[in-house]
């Protein structure tokens, strides 16, 4: 994948391979803590020690602040998905909506063709939405799968259990967040 900042602050993503493309589409589920308590508490940490704030104060925080943070992430996710929806095949210029109707002959023909790559543009006003969403996915993955670990034993265990794709997804999102930070947000 190639990422390029445009003069108007937008970002052009090109040569996106299938793994990267699918990871983007998975962001919604990757960033969703669902019923994982540690992941929830990491995305929306309780700010007070129990001994230092009344129950009423803690409830107020949950009602007003936590709710707002959840809405903020939800709004960012909506923008990310809207941008992704505009992704097109680089070769044909078509979106992927028509893929379901392919018959076997077409599929066979495609297998001989070069692998599909996608491209799309992220408008400048969505740049921080993308960072927030990718970073949220990393935070949740870290709590769910300890994806931040890099020690040898952990990586070997991941390989042996067939969950290497999670490791690669985490590394992909980390690389993108790093590039976002250096190239777009400073």
């Amino acid at each position: 994948m190639h990422c390029q900042r445009q003069s108007d602050g937008s970002v052009l993503l090109r040569h996106i391979n299938a793994f990267e493309y699918n990871t983007f589409w998975e962001l919604q589920s990757l960033a969703d803590p669902a019923d994982h308590l540690d992941a929830k508490n990491r995305l929306y940490p309780p700010p007070y020690l129990k001994s230092e704030a009344s129950e009423e104060t803690r409830n107020d925080w949950d009602e007003f602040v936590r709710t707002e943070l959840e809405l903020q992430l939800g709004a960012s996710m909506t923008n990310v998905l809207a941008d992704l929806d505009k992704a097109i095949h680089e070769t044909t210029g078509e979106t992927t909506e028509d893929e379901d109707g392919e018959d076997d002959d077409e599929a066979e023909e495609e297998s001989k063709a070069p692998p599909t790559r996608w491209t799309f543009t992220i408008p400048a006003e969505h740049v921080e939405d993308w960072f927030r969403t990718m970073n949220a996915a990393r935070l949740v993955m870290s709590q769910r799968y300890e994806s931040h670990r890099t020690d040898f034993n952990y990586v070997v265990a991941a390989v042996n259990s067939g969950s290497t794709s999670r490791l690669v997804q985490y590394e992909l999102l980390t690389s993108l967040c790093d590039w976002w930070l250096q190239a777009l947000m400073r």
């Binding site: 940490p45 700010p47 230092e52 925080w61 602040v65 943070l69 927030r132 931040h148 930070l181 400073r186």
Partner: protein, 117 residues
């Protein structure tokens, strides 16, 4: 997005009720003692905790952006977070501290509040 978070405080004074029924000239009025939440008076610290996910440059950028600190100060605080596990990044009035924690959490930093000792 709301720019400032203020915890709701219950109305504790009954002065409004007294105004509705004025006392006679000779009657002694005992004003009700107002309950004051003393935790509003003591300073509170905003603490950023270490986490293994957020990039160091990102933590520096957010501290700088939220508090307006110079790059060097923000970087020193980030390094304290990284090496010592946490860093007090601001101390002061509780409402302001809550606002800062909201801003830091909005940027997905692990931020908490603590009464300053």
């Amino acid at each position: 997005m709301r720019s400032h978070f203020t915890l709701l405080q219950p109305v504790r004074s009954s002065l409004f009720r007294m105004a509705a029924a004025p006392p006679s000239e000779t009657e002694t009025v005992v004003l009700p003692r107002e309950e004051v939440d003393e935790s509003l008076d003591v300073p509170w610290s905003v603490i950023v905790q270490n986490d293994p996910v957020n990039l160091m440059g990102y933590v520096t950028m957010i501290i700088k952006r939220v508090f307006g600190y110079p790059e060097e100060t923000a970087r020193r605080m980030m390094l304290d977070v990284h090496h010592k596990g946490k860093c007090v990044v601001w101390t002061g009035a509780r409402e302001r501290a809550e606002y800062y924690v909201q801003q830091l959490q909005s940027a997905q930093l692990l931020a908490t509040l603590k009464k300053a000792s």
